[in-house]
Subunit: 315 residues, 2 copies
């Protein structure tokens, strides 16, 4: 059993490779829910759906989210009723949100609703939201504390990230099955996702971070920072706003209390020795660094990266 | 001020004519809510929406409900999640349902939500749901007690209507403004709608029927039965199932405790004397019968019917 901590697009692309090289039914995906939101009274789980659509072969890979070829007829009509429609939800995507909202209102937990939706989409891996409790990422900028999607989508991440807040983290419990999935895994993998707002919310749940620290399984992460830059999105800028120089080394540092293996890109090969030596000095078990091509331009490259990560974490 | 008790398609067509010949801002429409339902967790108000879409110039007049040129992308996608989709809701129609559901969940009453939606659609008349309380029409057939839409749409009204039940009628109060709209009206008009399941649920609310009995305004009804047949829908068959011979005379009888004027079609001209004489014998103020063309084939005919009804009820 491989357990994966996943954010949005970077996670989905990595998982496409992983599912191609490892038996899907032996993969458990723990999904970020910090970016969940409510629009038009509907519960939206963007990271869960990005992963589901990618693994179901439905994703709009060009825009990164949503369903390929989707239409926006409801969204255009709903604008007439006074709703802001800066969060673009296609019609088929809305069908997922309507279903999730209906299941939640009928008393299902988010993890139960997610399992039903994943099953209907014939997603062969198990996907569990990090928590069934409310957990919302907020961003403090110079304009105040913003909802994550307001900051991320509506304002296009503009402005200085003064603070990343995980509202509800203090009382959020890991969803059922998560601690077991980490403790009993052969290996745990953190996808190349934004460490602050994609993986961060998952790690903000004490029970999950504790399980990562204590699991007998080795824990690997793929650096989302390549050559000092985020592969996608504002992770580099957000790290810098936190006073952290964006680099693969920063990723090792952020995860140092549980990380065994860091997979970095070829362009960062010269960081390997430094990262391993820093981790050794910090005590704990140290970190092994694996250097490979982490740019997932094709299905072949995604699969190759997954194979390399599996090999490194098993070693 | 003209106050109108309205069902679905027949009401909407009559109202198109009325709004063409009378100042819309002086018209209050009391809408049936007995056919409201919940699908996919969304609150659906079919009769309210049929009237709104007709008066907003958006209606799909061929199919009688929904929005002209609407698409069904959400519905097709939602079927994958295991929902029965026999109740056809187009994408733009769904936008209305999503909005209404959101407003209700945020604490608005159904009449407040309806006013907001009507205003967004630029409907110039006031439309009030008969009640803000739960009121649901159920049909007892040989197969048991069915939800109205199950009977009406899914089963296409097949089967013997043993009983029409208005669940919640005992405790449902008229929505705010309704009693005043009836008591202070210059005239009250019942549209040519199914007396059992379109007008019936409105009349099942004691406060509304009482107001019709006591208002100083004259009350007119347009018979939905022409030549012994329903103009549209199963009203004739449903009346017969209740042991009532479907005719314009039956309409007079069903409304006899408050009716002043009955408008019937030319083909039923020979019923005029009998209806007036029966009503005279029953006591009360009697009923005047106006004979005219009630078939609303064109905008001109809709307007002509509205003019005739206004004249008859004013006389």
């Amino acid at each position: 059993m491989i357990t994966v901590l996943a954010g949005g697009v970077g996670a989905a692309r990595f998982l496409q490779g992983l599912l191609a090289v490892h038996r899907p039914s032996d993969i458990t995906i723990i999904s970020n829910v910090g970016d969940d939101a409510e629009f038009f009274g509907l519960h939206i789980s963007p990271d869960i759906d990005i992963v589901l659509y990618h693994l179901a072969g439905l994703s709009d890979e060009e825009q990164g989210f949503g369903i390929r070829g989707d239409t926006y007829n409801v969204l255009e009509a709903i604008a007439h009723y006074g709703y802001d429609i800066w969060f673009r939800l296609g019609d088929r995507d809305l069908a997922t949100c309507i279903t999730r909202t209906d299941l939640l209102r009928r008393g299902r937990s988010l993890s139960e609703a997610t399992a039903e939706i994943a099953s209907a989409l014939l997603v062969p891996a198990r996907i569990i939201p990090a928590t069934d409790d409310p957990l919302r990422t907020k961003i403090r900028t110079d304009e105040g504390v913003l909802d994550f999607q307001d900051f991320f989508v509506r304002r296009r991440t503009e402005g200085h990230t003064r603070e990343v807040i995980f509202e509800g983290a203090g009382s959020a419990r890991p969803a059922p099955g998560i601690v077991e999935a980490i403790m009993e895994a052969e290996a745990v993998i953190l996808t190349p996702s934004n460490p602050l707002v994609s993986i961060g919310p998952i790690l903000s749940i004490a029970g999950i971070r504790d399980a990562l620290r204590t699991t007998p399984a080795r824990v690997a992460a793929v650096s989302p920072i390549v050559g000092g830059k985020a592969l996608k999105g504002p992770a580099d800028r957000m790290l810098r706003d936190q006073g952290i120089e964006p680099s693969a080394a920063a990723i090792a540092k952020l995860y140092e209390d549980f990380l065994d293996v860091l997979v970095i890109d070829n362009v960062d090969a010269d960081l390997k020795a430094q990262i391993e030596s820093d981790a050794g000095e910090a005590g704990g078990g140290g970190v092994e660094v694996t250097v490979t091509d982490t740019i997932m331009e094709s299905m072949e490259k995604k699969a190759a990266l997954a194979r390399t990560v599996l090999k490194a974490v098993a070693a």
